[in-house]
């Protein structure tokens, strides 16, 4: 059964700050000049909540596609931080107030089963899309699922993590049965719990990142019965260009295969990068029907994920 991605919409934080401005505000660990060398120009910061961004992205998707909200059978809501999964008030019990339920109500997704996807860091959206695929495969009647990711770092929070610049944003992805676009060919996820303490094991994570990334890309391609040369475009998570240069060497792929246009101007939008890049690469005419696309991402936990699509 063909299951694919039929639509993507996203919103970014409204404020654009250059890396120099971030440095001047004390929001970076590394010098701005270094982060520019690594491919980052600016970050997008939001004064709105993650929920507000999630709502905006999901509404935009429903409006542009014209999909009947009642025709969505599931909603997966991903967020990397605990703050993205709570609609808190002064009452401590408000931690049971879930944004996915609120979104289901506000968007009138009356038939959608709601799920939160958390604790997988920046993998949240890719894991959601994979779970949506599995949901659709397991249900005879269900036809489409909506995946939403949203993250906004608290005001004043550092914008650099392991030499990457972080942006606020949200993304909505529609996953459908019998979809002719962006058919999911393969998906793999690796979790290595040894690295759960992302602060204490920062160096070990940096080191583990590369060989594990190489292995999961290799195994996902094998699952899709493809090799590196078959991939028309890599849709990355927007970590540093330098990091991608190294990884390209490991996975034996060329710079021309990487869609890196958004790394500089958007930075790393937590879980949304791959899907924003899929949308923008398509809009830019970079993708053609039948193209094989490779999406790779990493999330604290530590988690690695890779998906292969046929455009």
């Amino acid at each position: 059964m063909n299951i694919g991605i039929s639509a993507i919409e996203y919103v970014l934080g409204a404020d654009t700050l250059s890396v120099e401005e971030l440095e001047a505000r004390g929001l970076l660990d590394s010098p701005a000049v270094r982060l520019r060398e690594f491919g980052f120009c600016c970050a997008r910061l939001s004064r709105d909540s993650s929920y507000a961004l999630a709502t905006a992205a999901a509404k935009k998707l429903l409006e542009t596609t014209g999909v009947d909200p009642a025709g969505v059978e599931a909603i997966f809501y991903a967020g990397a931080t605990p703050g993205s999964h709570a609609v808190e008030t002064s009452n401590p019990l408000s931690t049971f107030n879930y944004p996915v339920a609120r979104l289901q109500y506000e968007l009138e997704l009356t038939r959608a089963a709601a799920f939160g996807v958390s604790q997988v860091g920046c993998l949240g959206m890719m894991a959601s899309v994979a779970l949506a695929r599995d949901f659709l495969l397991s249900s005879k009647s269900a036809r489409r699922a909506l995946c939403v990711s949203a993250d906004v770092l608290p005001a004043g929070c550092k914008r650099e993590m392991i030499y990457n610049v972080i942006s606020d944003g949200a993304c909505a992805v529609l996953v459908e049965k019998e979809c002719g676009q962006n058919r999911i060919l393969a998906y793999r996820q690796i979790t290595k719990g040894y690295y759960w303490d992302s602060i204490a094991l920062k160096n070990e994570i940096t080191v583990a990142y590369f060989p594990t990334a190489r292995n999961i890309v290799r195994d996902t391609l094998a699952e899709a019965q493809l090799d590196a040369a078959n991939i028309s475009c890599i849709l990355p998570h927007n970590v540093s260009w330098r990091s991608w240069e190294i990884l390209l060497g490991l996975i034996q792929m060329g710079r021309d295969q990487l869609f890196a246009e958004n790394i500089g101007k958007m930075a790393h939008v937590i879980a949304a990068d791959n899907w924003i890049n899929l949308r923008d690469a398509a809009d830019a005419g970079r993708l053609h029907p039948g193209d094989k696309l490779l999406l790779f991402t990493f999330g604290f936990g530590a988690n690695w994920a890779c998906m292969v699509l046929e455009h």
Binding site: R34, E37, F38, Y194, E204, T206, A208, R214, I246
Partner: protein
Amino acid sequence: MSPTTMSHTILLTGATGMVGQALVPLLARRNDVSGIFALTHETGYQGPPEKIIPVRGDVTAGPELGILQAASREMLDRVTIIVHAAADTRFSAPLDAARAVNLEGTKNVLEFASHCPRLKAIVALSTVHVAGKRTGPIREGDLQHDAGFVNSYEQSKYEAELLLREGMSELPISVLRLSTVLGDSTTGEVARIVAIHHALRLYYNSLAPMIPGTPDSPVDLIAADYAAAAVGHFATDGFQAGQTFHICGGEDVLTLGPLLALTREGFLRYRPSWRKRAIEMPAIVDLPTFELFARSVEEVGDNILRSSVAIIKHFVPQLAYPKTFDDAACAGSLPAAGFLKPEALDFYPSVVRWLVETGWGEHRSRAEGAAT
């Protein structure tokens, strides 16, 4: 000429090094050795009591080797064999520092040797990696090349060998090129933790991301006891002036891919709890990718990561220049003298076991206790 029919008095430089430590008791056990001057710059060196005469000195301290005058006179009069094992084996040393010990030190030893009236043999320890960035088969007689070097150790030892070759017309010199000395072939014990052991520890601790080379890159390793036995042989019964010998794995060479798999197998076997960490084997990558990673870490990494990369970046690039070392002359001499070369596939796991069980030598007594 072989100095076999006489009673030897040996001057050994570098007595506390990995080979030196294994060599001292081996030479001391020989009936034809009457005394060993063990030259070391370390204070408090004792060595095995029998036949050993610890001498404080330094090969960099001029042709007198920094030895007190009275002791120097006695040594000059008595020494018949010099085994020059002292070296700065740091791969990361600045070239000037490496030359000060490895080149100037050798020059000083040769100058000292020229004043020893009873001298019959000088055996200079070198490295197979004087071949630097050459690739393919390397013969024992090969030396000069313009392929360049991976680190200052290789270059300074190469320059020292040029000096030794020159000196062969005046003095009875033999050069012994050792490959990477890993540990004892039976117990796995490592007398001195060096770069390769540090690299294995980085892998164990999830701090080794990638290694340049290919899965087929040869990794030539030898056991410390074999290295010491070979050096002892070529310094005494098997001495051949003007010859260079490769003391190496030769045809018995492991390759990088299987070596990493063997390492992982050892970690899992000797520390079963290591399995749950699910640490990946370092990726084998091309040299530019490795260098880009190393440069990135130097630019932004914190101290732990920088130190980790610093440990490996000065020697693992050698794997990107695949070569094999021909040891025909050595192999022709040692078995005839009764020395059998331990196979790397047999002793490598023993060394991994020793490293894991002793915490890379930090808990030596625990392993010794377990062994008894």
